[in-house]
């Protein structure tokens, strides 16, 4: 029973974090921008959503697009720091992350009655429960379904976005900036748009997490970059070779797998001392076996690439000889 609960928990958390991983997929995988500001944008989404629900009484579903806007604004700033002020990718992220920690803490003062900031804010206040998308009394099936629908909507939005002309330009920017310049477009603009979109999805994930756990914790951002990164790496390593599965779906599955692993670790390590160490070991193992997993499964992208490469006639030198 404990195992089953852990599995369900892991699945649901995995779906929450899948949206986060999708966000980092845009900045990290597509734009090659390892955005460390995620650790700050994630709680920002959480606190903004909590304020919207508790103070403004906004519909829990409607709170998600609004949090997206706040996250996108944070992403916009990260992008501007990097593009306009030529800061390195990592530094721009670190600066935003550091700054946002204070911003989120300051925002929590809007939640407390005496206006003092509070690190933790529960969703049950004076015996009144703040309405969320996931009322626990409706059962796990309902909660999982709602999470799944939201995650899939995010995935579809991202998939569609990257099929537009704007999406093409962002993909091209991540892959070859020189070419984007040659096309008469400013690659900096597309970087900023992409990083902003990534920030938006990160914030939505933070909002989902707060609503799901019925709790806003100002420290919930720590380690989220690693979590998202692990999800992307697992997802793309294990699933990317499957032809009909898009990268975004692979990332979602990666997030679920990683989150399940984390939950099982908690199950193993009952007194909680070695949880973080085991997390680290797990992540290290994933990185070490990154290529091996897919090789073992025999359907890695790289493998497919080399095969298809052989099927292409060698250059045109070869064809000229014919």
């Amino acid at each position: 029973m404990l195992f089953l609960n852990t599995t369900i928990d892991g699945l649901q958390l995995g779906l929450c974090f899948a949206v986060l991983a999708l966000g980092l997929y845009i900045s990290y995988s597509i734009l090659d921008f390892p955005d460390l500001s995620v650790d700050g944008t994630f709680p920002l989404g959480g606190v903004v959503c909590t304020i919207l629900l508790y103070r403004l009484g906004i519909n829990p579903l409607l709170s998600l697009p609004i949090t997206f806007v706040f996250g996108a604004a944070a992403g916009l700033l990260t992008g501007i720091l990097h593009v306009r002020f030529k800061m390195s990718k990592l530094l721009a992220g670190i600066i935003m992350m550091t700054g946002l920690m204070s911003v989120t803490l300051a925002l929590t003062s809007l939640l407390t009655d005496d206006g003092s900031p509070s690190v933790i804010f529960g969703f049950i206040q004076k015996n009144v429960k703040i309405p969320t998308l996931f009322s626990p009394e409706k059962g796990d099936l309902y909660i999982t379904a709602v999470l799944l629908v939201i995650t899939v909507i995010c995935k579809v939005i991202i998939d569609l976005f990257f099929r537009t002309k704007l999406g093409y330009m962002i993909r091209a920017t991540g892959s070859n900036e020189t070419l984007v310049t040659s096309l008469g477009k400013n690659p900096g603009l597309y970087k900023i748009i992409g990083i902003a979109a990534a920030g938006g999805f990160t914030a939505v994930s933070g909002a989902l997490y707060a609503q799901y756990t019925l709790n806003y914790d100002n420290t919930c951002g720590s380690g989220k970059v690693v979590l998202a990164l692990a999800s992307i790496i697992i997802g793309t390593a294990v699933f990317s070779g499957i032809r009909f599965l898009s990268d975004t779906s692979a990332v979602i599955f990666g997030a679920i797998i990683y989150s399940l692993c984390l939950n099982y670790i908690v199950l193993l390590d009952t007194n909680g001392i070695y949880t973080k160490l085991l997390n680290a070991v797990l992540f290290a193992l994933i990185l070490i076996f990154n290529g091996k997993i897919s090789e073992f499964l025999g359907r890695k992208k790289g493998l497919k690439k080399t095969q298809s490469k052989q099927s292409i006639p060698q250059g045109f030198g070869g064809q000229q000889d014919d």
Partner: protein, 257 residues
Amino acid sequence: MIELDKITKIFGINTVNENILLSDFSFKAEKGDFVSIVGSNGSGKTTLLNLIGGSLTPEKGKIYLDGEDITGKPEYLRSRRISRVYQNPALGTVPDMTIFENLMLAENKNKPALLTFAKDKKKTDFYRELLSGLGLSLEDKLDIKTGLLSGGQRQALALVMSTMTKTDLLLLDEHTAALDPKTAEIIMRLTDKVVKEKNITVLMVTHNLRFAVEYGNRTVMMHKGQIVIDKGGNDKENLKVSDLLGTFNEISVECGN
């Protein structure tokens, strides 16, 4: 028409390594000219292209494209009228995107990239026809990522992409240098064909003296930021590789190479 007026370009300004590469350098190419530029390393050929393309800005002087002063214009804005093919075949295409997607990008040059769907299946026939002209059977590989193509195939595609929309000036930066001799020959012939079809003004930097003699209507040799040979019209027709090589050797002896 492209004109450089009294350009001065200094590298490492105000340092011990200060190097005045171009000083009061003037150059002009008429509309429809195909100028080949040769010269030893460090003679300022590539700097010349970078100054025109916009990745470098001169310390002094003006650059005019068809009479318009483009000296201070950012690179991406200049690219709307100037196309470029680089020495590195990887720079001319997006390796993570298919040939089809690359062509869509190129066709959308100078048009806004908004939230409209990019892929238009109706274009397939047009693209196939466009690529079949190359004779490299790229038309059958529309859905293959360009990262999987050979250097020569990529360079041919880059050439097609850079001339797909109307362009006033084409800069070729040693675009055959990274290719094997045979492929280089093919790309060079292709370049000549495209340029003649579209009647584009071309500046081509090359280390291949034979290409410099055989192609285009004007040959320029640069040395230490100066033009040492400039042959156009009939003079160019009579120019031989040996003439260029002769001057090259003189220069090299001077430099102690």
